[in-house]
Protein backbone atom coordinates (compact mmCIF):
# COMPACT_ATOMS: atom_id res chain seq x y z
CA UNK A 1 0.00 0.00 0.00
CA UNK A 2 1.37 3.47 -0.80
CA UNK A 3 2.09 5.78 2.09
CA UNK A 4 -0.25 8.66 2.74
CA UNK A 5 1.08 12.02 3.86
CA UNK A 6 -0.54 11.78 7.28
CA UNK A 7 0.80 8.31 8.00
CA UNK A 8 3.52 7.63 10.54
CA UNK A 9 6.67 6.26 8.95
CA UNK A 10 9.85 5.05 10.54
CA UNK A 11 12.48 2.42 10.13
CA UNK A 12 15.41 0.91 11.94
CA UNK A 13 18.53 0.27 9.92
CA UNK A 14 21.76 -1.02 11.36
CA UNK A 15 24.61 -3.48 11.10
CA UNK A 16 23.80 -6.74 12.85
CA UNK A 17 25.49 -10.08 13.36
CA UNK A 18 23.71 -13.27 12.36
CA UNK A 19 24.51 -16.93 11.79
CA UNK A 20 25.56 -17.52 8.20
CA UNK A 21 26.75 -20.65 6.46
CA UNK A 22 27.53 -23.46 8.91
CA UNK A 23 26.57 -21.16 11.77
CA UNK A 24 29.48 -18.76 11.17
CA UNK A 25 28.81 -15.39 12.72
CA UNK A 26 28.79 -12.80 9.96
CA UNK A 27 27.74 -9.21 9.60
CA UNK A 28 24.60 -8.13 7.82
CA UNK A 29 22.87 -4.86 7.18
CA UNK A 30 19.23 -4.85 8.20
CA UNK A 31 16.55 -2.28 7.51
CA UNK A 32 13.05 -2.86 8.83
CA UNK A 33 9.93 -0.80 9.29
CA UNK A 34 9.01 0.27 12.79
CA UNK A 35 5.79 -1.21 14.03
CA UNK A 36 4.51 -4.61 14.98
CA UNK A 37 4.01 -5.91 11.44
CA UNK A 38 3.67 -8.57 10.40
CA UNK A 39 6.06 -7.71 7.56
CA UNK A 40 7.36 -9.83 4.69
CA UNK A 41 11.11 -10.23 4.45
CA UNK A 42 13.72 -10.10 1.74
CA UNK A 43 17.33 -11.25 1.64
CA UNK A 44 19.49 -9.04 -0.58
CA UNK A 45 22.63 -10.57 -2.08
CA UNK A 46 25.13 -7.89 -3.05
CA UNK A 47 26.66 -7.52 -6.49
CA UNK A 48 30.26 -7.97 -7.63
CA UNK A 49 31.45 -4.53 -6.44
CA UNK A 50 30.72 -5.62 -2.91
CA UNK A 51 28.59 -5.03 0.18
CA UNK A 52 28.29 -1.42 -0.71
CA UNK A 53 26.19 1.70 -0.40
CA UNK A 54 23.87 0.67 -3.22
CA UNK A 55 22.80 -2.45 -1.37
CA UNK A 56 22.40 -0.67 1.94
CA UNK A 57 20.25 1.94 0.22
CA UNK A 58 18.29 -0.86 -1.42
CA UNK A 59 17.68 -2.42 2.00
CA UNK A 60 16.30 0.89 3.24
CA UNK A 61 14.17 1.16 0.14
CA UNK A 62 12.64 -2.21 0.90
CA UNK A 63 11.98 -1.13 4.49
CA UNK A 64 10.21 1.95 3.15
CA UNK A 65 8.02 -0.41 1.15
CA UNK A 66 7.19 -2.46 4.23
CA UNK A 67 9.76 -5.25 4.10
CA UNK A 68 12.28 -6.49 6.61
CA UNK A 69 15.42 -6.44 4.47
CA UNK A 70 18.66 -8.18 5.39
CA UNK A 71 21.79 -7.93 3.25
CA UNK A 72 24.41 -10.38 4.56
CA UNK A 73 28.07 -9.45 4.21
CA UNK A 74 28.97 -12.46 2.09
CA UNK A 75 32.60 -11.26 2.10
CA UNK A 76 32.76 -11.20 5.91
CA UNK A 77 35.26 -14.05 6.16
CA UNK A 78 37.64 -12.36 3.73
CA UNK A 79 38.50 -9.67 6.25
CA UNK A 80 37.57 -6.07 6.79
CA UNK A 81 38.64 -2.86 5.15
CA UNK A 82 37.22 -0.64 2.46
CA UNK A 83 34.63 -2.41 0.32
CA UNK A 84 36.84 -2.46 -2.76
CA UNK A 85 39.88 -3.73 -0.84
CA UNK A 86 37.80 -6.60 0.55
CA UNK A 87 36.41 -7.51 -2.86
CA UNK A 88 39.88 -7.36 -4.40
CA UNK A 89 41.21 -9.77 -1.79
CA UNK A 90 38.35 -12.19 -2.39
CA UNK A 91 38.94 -11.99 -6.13
CA UNK A 92 42.60 -12.82 -5.64
CA UNK A 93 41.60 -15.84 -3.59
CA UNK A 94 39.43 -17.24 -6.38
CA UNK A 95 36.10 -15.67 -5.45
CA UNK A 96 33.51 -16.68 -2.90
CA UNK A 97 32.47 -20.34 -2.74
CA UNK A 98 28.93 -20.83 -4.03
CA UNK A 99 28.01 -23.16 -1.15
CA UNK A 100 29.07 -20.55 1.37
CA UNK A 101 26.97 -17.79 -0.20
CA UNK A 102 23.92 -20.06 -0.38
CA UNK A 103 24.42 -20.88 3.30
CA UNK A 104 24.70 -17.20 4.18
CA UNK A 105 21.50 -16.41 2.27
CA UNK A 106 19.65 -19.24 4.00
CA UNK A 107 20.98 -18.01 7.36
CA UNK A 108 19.68 -14.53 6.62
CA UNK A 109 16.24 -15.92 5.74
CA UNK A 110 16.17 -17.87 8.99
CA UNK A 111 17.15 -14.74 10.89
CA UNK A 112 14.33 -12.73 9.27
CA UNK A 113 11.77 -15.43 10.08
CA UNK A 114 12.92 -15.47 13.70
CA UNK A 115 11.94 -11.83 14.17
CA UNK A 116 8.62 -11.26 15.94
CA UNK A 117 7.53 -8.85 13.21
CA UNK A 118 8.06 -11.34 10.36
CA UNK A 119 5.03 -12.66 8.47
CA UNK A 120 6.94 -15.87 7.86
CA UNK A 121 7.61 -15.24 4.18
CA UNK A 122 10.97 -14.31 2.73
CA UNK A 123 12.12 -13.52 -0.77
CA UNK A 124 15.65 -13.33 -2.11
CA UNK A 125 16.98 -10.85 -4.63
CA UNK A 126 20.37 -10.05 -6.06
CA UNK A 127 21.94 -8.19 -8.93
CA UNK A 128 24.92 -9.11 -11.11
CA UNK A 129 26.86 -11.90 -9.33
CA UNK A 130 24.19 -11.58 -6.65
CA UNK A 131 21.59 -12.47 -9.27
CA UNK A 132 23.51 -15.66 -9.94
CA UNK A 133 23.73 -16.31 -6.20
CA UNK A 134 19.99 -15.67 -5.93
CA UNK A 135 19.31 -18.37 -8.50
CA UNK A 136 21.57 -20.74 -6.57
CA UNK A 137 19.86 -19.89 -3.26
CA UNK A 138 16.44 -20.54 -4.80
CA UNK A 139 17.51 -23.88 -6.29
CA UNK A 140 19.82 -25.24 -3.61
CA UNK A 141 17.44 -24.73 -0.68
CA UNK A 142 13.93 -25.99 -0.05
CA UNK A 143 11.24 -24.32 2.04
CA UNK A 144 13.48 -21.32 2.72
CA UNK A 145 12.45 -18.77 0.10
CA UNK A 146 8.98 -17.92 -1.17
CA UNK A 147 10.06 -15.89 -4.21
CA UNK A 148 13.31 -14.99 -5.96
CA UNK A 149 14.41 -12.14 -8.22
CA UNK A 150 17.46 -12.53 -10.42
CA UNK A 151 18.56 -9.18 -11.82
CA UNK A 152 20.95 -9.67 -14.75
CA UNK A 153 22.89 -12.45 -13.06
CA UNK A 154 25.85 -13.37 -15.22
CA UNK A 155 27.11 -16.94 -15.48
CA UNK A 156 23.84 -18.56 -14.43
CA UNK A 157 24.53 -20.43 -17.64
CA UNK A 158 28.20 -20.88 -16.85
CA UNK A 159 30.47 -22.09 -19.62
CA UNK A 160 32.66 -25.03 -18.62
CA UNK A 161 35.82 -22.96 -19.04
CA UNK A 162 34.58 -20.53 -16.39
CA UNK A 163 33.87 -23.13 -13.71
CA UNK A 164 36.24 -22.87 -10.76
CA UNK A 165 36.78 -24.73 -7.47
CA UNK A 166 34.63 -22.07 -5.79
CA UNK A 167 31.99 -22.23 -8.52
CA UNK A 168 32.08 -25.85 -9.64
CA UNK A 169 28.63 -26.22 -11.20
CA UNK A 170 26.78 -24.12 -13.75
CA UNK A 171 23.70 -22.88 -11.85
CA UNK A 172 21.36 -23.66 -14.74
CA UNK A 173 22.04 -27.33 -14.04
CA UNK A 174 20.05 -26.93 -10.81
CA UNK A 175 16.94 -25.56 -12.55
CA UNK A 176 14.86 -28.65 -11.81
CA UNK A 177 15.30 -27.89 -8.09
CA UNK A 178 13.97 -24.32 -8.23
CA UNK A 179 11.87 -24.11 -5.08
CA UNK A 180 9.93 -20.86 -5.55
CA UNK A 181 8.61 -18.47 -8.21
CA UNK A 182 11.34 -16.61 -10.09
CA UNK A 183 11.38 -13.13 -11.62
CA UNK A 184 14.19 -12.28 -14.02
CA UNK A 185 15.11 -8.79 -15.21
CA UNK A 186 17.58 -8.50 -18.07
CA UNK A 187 18.98 -5.95 -20.50
CA UNK A 188 19.06 -7.00 -24.13
CA UNK A 189 22.43 -5.29 -24.58
CA UNK A 190 24.06 -7.12 -21.69
CA UNK A 191 27.25 -9.05 -22.42
CA UNK A 192 26.99 -11.13 -19.24
CA UNK A 193 24.40 -12.59 -19.42
CA UNK A 194 23.96 -12.17 -23.17
CA UNK A 195 20.42 -12.66 -24.52
CA UNK A 196 21.36 -16.13 -25.79
CA UNK A 197 22.14 -17.27 -22.22
CA UNK A 198 18.91 -15.73 -20.94
CA UNK A 199 17.13 -17.78 -23.61
CA UNK A 200 18.93 -20.92 -22.43
CA UNK A 201 17.88 -20.28 -18.85
CA UNK A 202 14.30 -19.65 -19.92
CA UNK A 203 14.28 -22.88 -21.94
CA UNK A 204 15.44 -24.81 -18.87
CA UNK A 205 12.71 -23.22 -16.74
CA UNK A 206 10.10 -24.14 -19.34
CA UNK A 207 11.45 -27.66 -19.61
CA UNK A 208 10.97 -28.18 -15.89
CA UNK A 209 7.58 -26.41 -15.73
CA UNK A 210 8.80 -23.76 -13.32
CA UNK A 211 6.84 -20.69 -12.27
CA UNK A 212 8.81 -17.77 -13.67
CA UNK A 213 8.48 -14.47 -15.47
CA UNK A 214 11.24 -12.77 -17.42
CA UNK A 215 11.33 -9.15 -18.55
CA UNK A 216 13.89 -8.03 -21.09
CA UNK A 217 14.61 -4.40 -21.80
CA UNK A 218 15.76 -2.98 -25.12
CA UNK A 219 18.31 -0.20 -24.85
CA UNK A 220 19.55 -1.52 -21.51
CA UNK A 221 22.59 -3.59 -20.70
CA UNK A 222 23.98 -4.78 -17.40
CA UNK A 223 23.16 -3.03 -14.13
CA UNK A 224 20.47 -0.67 -15.36
CA UNK A 225 19.31 0.04 -11.77
CA UNK A 226 22.67 1.63 -10.82
CA UNK A 227 21.88 5.33 -10.87
CA UNK A 228 25.52 6.32 -10.29
CA UNK A 229 26.91 4.31 -13.19
CA UNK A 230 26.84 4.92 -16.96
CA UNK A 231 24.72 1.78 -17.43
CA UNK A 232 21.76 3.37 -15.64
CA UNK A 233 18.62 3.35 -17.80
CA UNK A 234 15.83 5.33 -16.24
CA UNK A 235 12.85 3.81 -18.05
CA UNK A 236 14.05 0.23 -17.60
CA UNK A 237 14.90 0.88 -13.95
CA UNK A 238 11.52 2.44 -13.20
CA UNK A 239 9.67 -0.42 -14.86
CA UNK A 240 11.98 -3.00 -13.30
CA UNK A 241 11.33 -1.70 -9.79
CA UNK A 242 7.60 -1.83 -10.47
CA UNK A 243 7.99 -5.47 -11.46
CA UNK A 244 9.91 -6.09 -8.22
CA UNK A 245 7.16 -4.61 -6.04
CA UNK A 246 4.40 -6.43 -7.95
CA UNK A 247 6.20 -9.77 -7.81
CA UNK A 248 7.19 -9.71 -4.16
CA UNK A 249 3.80 -8.21 -3.28
CA UNK A 250 2.11 -11.16 -4.93
CA UNK A 251 4.17 -13.89 -3.32
CA UNK A 252 5.28 -12.50 0.03
CA UNK A 253 2.34 -10.51 1.35
CA UNK A 254 -0.13 -12.62 3.27
Amino acid sequence: MPYTTDQYEGMLSETITMPGNKGDTIHAYMAKPLGSGPFPGVVLISHAPGWDEFFKETARRFAHHGYIAVAPDIWCRTGHGTVDDVVAKARAAGGLPDDQVVGDAAGAAKYVKSLPTSNGKVGVMGTCSGGRHTFLAATRTKGVFDAAINCWGGNVVQPADRLTPAQPVSPVDYTKDLSCPLLGLFGNEDANPPPAQVNQLEAALKQHNKNYEFHRYDGAGHGFFYYDRPMFRQEAAADGWKKVWDFFGKYLAK
Binding site: H47, D84, A88, R91
Partner: protein, 96 residues
Protein backbone atom coordinates in the same frame (compact mmCIF):
# COMPACT_ATOMS: atom_id res chain seq x y z
CA UNK B 1 33.16 -11.11 -9.08
CA UNK B 2 30.86 -11.39 -12.03
CA UNK B 3 32.92 -12.47 -15.02
CA UNK B 4 35.30 -14.95 -13.34
CA UNK B 5 38.06 -13.68 -15.64
CA UNK B 6 41.03 -13.30 -13.33
CA UNK B 7 44.75 -13.78 -13.94
CA UNK B 8 47.26 -13.70 -11.12
CA UNK B 9 50.98 -13.04 -11.44
CA UNK B 10 53.71 -13.25 -8.82
CA UNK B 11 55.68 -10.03 -8.92
CA UNK B 12 58.38 -8.21 -7.01
CA UNK B 13 58.72 -4.50 -6.64
CA UNK B 14 57.20 -1.74 -4.57
CA UNK B 15 53.93 0.12 -4.69
CA UNK B 16 52.68 3.18 -2.95
CA UNK B 17 49.43 2.76 -1.07
CA UNK B 18 47.54 5.00 1.35
CA UNK B 19 50.11 4.30 4.09
CA UNK B 20 53.19 4.78 1.94
CA UNK B 21 55.45 2.39 0.07
CA UNK B 22 55.23 -1.35 0.53
CA UNK B 23 56.66 -4.47 -1.11
CA UNK B 24 54.47 -6.09 -3.75
CA UNK B 25 53.83 -9.81 -4.08
CA UNK B 26 51.07 -10.26 -6.64
CA UNK B 27 49.40 -8.55 -9.56
CA UNK B 28 45.74 -9.52 -9.80
CA UNK B 29 44.41 -8.73 -13.26
CA UNK B 30 40.71 -9.10 -13.92
CA UNK B 31 38.33 -8.28 -16.73
CA UNK B 32 35.33 -7.36 -14.65
CA UNK B 33 33.20 -4.52 -13.33
CA UNK B 34 35.29 -1.60 -12.13
CA UNK B 35 34.52 0.06 -8.81
CA UNK B 36 35.16 3.60 -9.95
CA UNK B 37 35.80 3.89 -13.69
CA UNK B 38 32.77 4.85 -15.77
CA UNK B 39 32.58 1.61 -17.72
CA UNK B 40 30.64 -1.62 -17.57
CA UNK B 41 33.83 -3.65 -17.64
CA UNK B 42 37.47 -2.70 -17.24
CA UNK B 43 40.87 -4.26 -16.92
CA UNK B 44 41.35 -4.00 -13.18
CA UNK B 45 44.85 -4.41 -11.84
CA UNK B 46 45.48 -4.81 -8.13
CA UNK B 47 49.10 -4.75 -7.04
CA UNK B 48 48.93 -6.32 -3.60
CA UNK B 49 50.76 -7.76 -0.66
CA UNK B 50 48.10 -9.33 1.52
CA UNK B 51 50.74 -10.30 4.08
CA UNK B 52 50.72 -6.63 4.97
CA UNK B 53 46.98 -6.34 5.33
CA UNK B 54 43.89 -6.07 3.20
CA UNK B 55 44.60 -2.42 2.41
CA UNK B 56 48.09 -3.05 1.01
CA UNK B 57 46.86 -2.55 -2.52
CA UNK B 58 47.51 -0.25 -5.43
CA UNK B 59 44.55 -0.37 -7.79
CA UNK B 60 44.01 0.82 -11.33
CA UNK B 61 41.00 0.38 -13.60
CA UNK B 62 41.74 0.73 -17.32
CA UNK B 63 39.78 0.69 -20.54
CA UNK B 64 40.73 -2.10 -22.93
CA UNK B 65 42.50 0.43 -25.17
CA UNK B 66 44.44 1.78 -22.23
CA UNK B 67 45.43 -1.71 -21.11
CA UNK B 68 46.80 -2.44 -24.58
CA UNK B 69 48.64 0.87 -24.58
CA UNK B 70 50.13 0.02 -21.19
CA UNK B 71 51.34 -3.34 -22.47
CA UNK B 72 52.89 -1.57 -25.45
CA UNK B 73 54.79 1.02 -23.44
CA UNK B 74 55.91 -1.56 -20.87
CA UNK B 75 57.32 -3.73 -23.64
CA UNK B 76 58.91 -0.72 -25.31
CA UNK B 77 60.60 0.49 -22.13
CA UNK B 78 61.85 -3.00 -21.31
CA UNK B 79 63.18 -3.51 -24.82
CA UNK B 80 65.02 -0.19 -24.85
CA UNK B 81 66.53 -0.73 -21.41
CA UNK B 82 67.64 -4.28 -22.16
CA UNK B 83 69.02 -3.24 -25.56
CA UNK B 84 71.17 -0.68 -23.81
CA UNK B 85 72.32 -3.37 -21.34
CA UNK B 86 70.90 -1.50 -18.39
CA UNK B 87 70.32 -3.66 -15.34
CA UNK B 88 67.41 -3.82 -13.01
CA UNK B 89 67.12 -5.36 -9.57
CA UNK B 90 66.39 -9.06 -9.59
CA UNK B 91 63.32 -10.41 -7.88
CA UNK B 92 65.49 -11.35 -4.90
CA UNK B 93 67.03 -7.88 -4.70
CA UNK B 94 63.79 -5.97 -5.05
CA UNK B 95 61.78 -8.00 -2.56
CA UNK B 96 62.79 -7.03 0.93
Amino acid sequence: MCSNIVEIGSIAGCGRGPDGWFDLKQAIVSFDHPVHADAEHAINIDFVNHDKGIGARVAVELTAESARELIKVLEAALARGEAEHLTMGSTAQVAR
